[in-house]
């Protein structure tokens, strides 16, 4: 059962991420990306990470992609496509190079699968006992308190940056 859902969501995620790359219109790419995020949430669910799955949809598919879509829709990127011609070749090489680098970075992880799996501090049974959310919350607000508070400063910096640059243009 789990394997079935894994291949379903994994396959759909792969297919839609291909669409992200190969569709011509920017808006279509964004929609495909939203769908990819949705499928990733399905994968998180299979892992038993309910909270993370919901946040994946809520934040990635439901918030960050809204900004993407706003930028694409409101800047009217369709018209921009024509200008792209120059430097296209260089970009392609750069993209290919980046892809190879990412692959080389990920390949060791893939190879590591052969090693014996070490059981972590939080095996699925222990997580199931109280639920994903409660564990995240307990750890986040005790052991990882400092990163949590620092995150607020990071978010503050993001607000200030966004408002500053947007208002400078007005």
């Amino acid at each position: 059962m789990e394997a079935l859902f894994f291949y379903l969501f994994g396959g759909l995620a792969l297919i839609s991420s291909f669409f992200v790359i190969f569709l011509r219109k920017p808006v279509h790419n964004a929609v495909a990306l939203i769908f990819t995020f949705f499928c990733l949430a399905g994968l998180y669910l299979i892992l038993g990470a309910e909270f993370v799955a919901m946040i994946q949809v809520l934040v990635y598919a439901g918030a960050i992609m809204v900004l993407f879509l706003f930028v694409i829709m409101l800047l009217n990127l369709e018209e921009e496509e024509a200008i792209e011609g120059r430097g296209n070749k260089f970009r392609r090489w750069l993209g290919g190079f980046a892809a190879v680098v990412v692959f080389l970075l990920l390949a060791p992880v893939w190879l590591m699968q052969a090693l014996p799996v070490v059981k972590g501090t939080f095996p699925p049974e222990k997580v199931q006992e109280l639920g994903n959310t409660v564990w995240i919350a307990r750890l986040l607000f005790t052991d990882y308190l400092l990163p949590f508070e620092v995150a607020s400063v990071l978010l503050l910096a993001a607000i200030v940056g966004a408002v500053f640059f947007a208002m400078k243009r007005m």
Partner: protein
């Protein structure tokens, strides 16, 4: 996968099937007789002029940015709310500090006029 999501998945499949059915019905059930006038986007009876996909005020981007940031605030707040009864006063202080820093940001956006619309 936690058991309870199987029914949700089935519900999703049924819903999508019905939506596809409805869309297909509306597309194929009735014969279409398109004419140029009929297909024209509505613009109070005049012929449309210019592009319908215009650029927008930068305000909307600021709103979207602020939305992402406060959405993340809310995401941090939910798990906190679940375990609040265990965290008690300590938890309250943690969250007040976190929220205060973010409200500072909201205040900045407010003073800068990012929340003003004419």
């Amino acid at each position: 996968m936690p058991e309870s999501y199987v029914p949700i998945f089935v519900f999703l499949v049924v819903n999508v099937a019905v939506a596809v059915l409805i869309i297909a019905l509306s597309t194929y059930l009735v014969k279409r007789k398109p004419t140029a006038q009929k297909l024209m986007p509505y613009e109070c009876g005049m012929d449309p002029f210019g592009t319908a996909r215009k650029r927008f005020s930068v305000k909307f981007f600021v709103v979207a940015m602020l939305f992402i940031i406060f959405d993340i605030e809310a995401v941090f707040l939910y798990p906190w709310a679940v375990v609040f009864k265990d965290l008690k006063l300590f938890g309250l202080i943690e969250m007040v500090v976190f929220i205060a820093v973010l409200l500072l940001g909201l205040f900045y956006a407010w003073k800068k006029g990012a929340l003003e619309w004419q």
